[in-house]
Symmetry: none
Amino acid sequence: METILIVEDDKTISMGLDYFLRQEGYNVLLADSFGETKKLINKNIDLVLLDLGLPDASGFDVFKYIKEIKDIPIIFLTAVDTEVNIVLGLDMGADDYITKPFKARELLSRIKKALRKDGKNNNNIIKIDNIEIDIKQAKVLKNGKDVMLTSLEYKILLILATNPNVVLTREQILSDIWDVNECFVNDNTLTVYIKRLREKIEDDKDSPKIIQTVRGIGYKIEI
Amino acid sequence: METILIVEDDKTISMGLDYFLRQEGYNVLLADSFGETKKLINKNIDLVLLDLGLPDASGFDVFKYIKEIKDIPIIFLTAVDTEVNIVLGLDMGADDYITKPFKARELLSRIKKALRKDGKNNNNIIKIDNIEIDIKQAKVLKNGKDVMLTSLEYKILLILATNPNVVLTREQILSDIWDVNECFVNDNTLTVYIKRLREKIEDDKDSPKIIQTVRGIGYKIEI
DNA sequence: ATTCATTTTCAAAAGTTTATAATATAGTAT
DNA sequence: ATACTATATTATAAACTTTTGAAAATGAAT
């Protein structure tokens, strides 16, 4: 089980995240200040969620401090656009950032992405039925044979596959693939991709076993 | 490991650079004034990033001072265009300059270029998959065997390889190879080179593993 | 200087991928 | 059964990449 350290002084946010991440099967540690962070940093932590606006130190210092001690992924929680600009402009090496208010599901997906990249804590091959997804090589095999997916098809499959047994709404998938700030993409575009994905990976595209439709909500993959 | 001295009074910038460059595997020394610089200059330094707007001296004086003591590459960090003009106009002998705000990645690429030119330092072999690039000899090996690349093919490969895991836009690559002031080169020229490079270095040119296309943006090499 | 081979550049054609619109089908509620 | 809504399908347009081939430039060898 992976452990996430949340460094955040706003209790409303940290408590909410705490609950949510525990639900999702993570260990959670909470720090509301730089001081607290120092006390906890030597625990076995796999990822840090770091609020940039702490009371007793600049998020930046906390970031440096953590990275000096441990090489673990850090995701910034930023309050305002100017902060985002700083993060981006300096290219500090944050593994990712997310602007408040954020959707828990979106954060979760970023956490998973960061942990996946970090390597050590995961097997890089997801198996669903007769399909294998090799995350490192970005390759998909069906019955051991290469399936050629376009980059978007692959992304959609990956999002579903890394959130197994969870129904993802169209909006969740859309917002995960077409970056939030990008122009809005036609909702039907997703439907079309799902169709093409099914043509490529399902044995019988007319009764899909891998990507299941959950009417009124979205899609899911069951393992 | 190479050491970079950052001479910069703006903490936001110097701290960010400090972190970023350490991440990239450099030793970093920080000086926020001419005085500090004098104290540090006798350390073993391979390159200097020099802010032109110091509080206690003109950047030019610092520049002259450093170059008298050590013949190491100096890259100017300039705040405004007028400063750029001065740098160019005086032809002071800066190895390069970069205007704030700059992208860390761009700076990194210039640092590498400057250090490479400088010769003595740097690890000279980049490995990607079954490809080895020997920078000193400007040689490329595939499975230990020589691959003959033309000079432009080599340059393109090198730019991508020295910026691994970063998507470089066509424009970035073009402007890096065909000096900015030169006549504009047809955008497709790059595409053609990428194709030929792939023919030479990829195992299967139809599903390239080394040079990856990022649709709508450019190309990248992942390590 | 001329020839020949190689490298570089360009333009057009062919091939892919992505986005959208229009239409058809299937599921749900009344 | 009917109307309504959500999803699936099909077709197509637009954007982007790759491929091809040929012209121009370069450079080495005679």
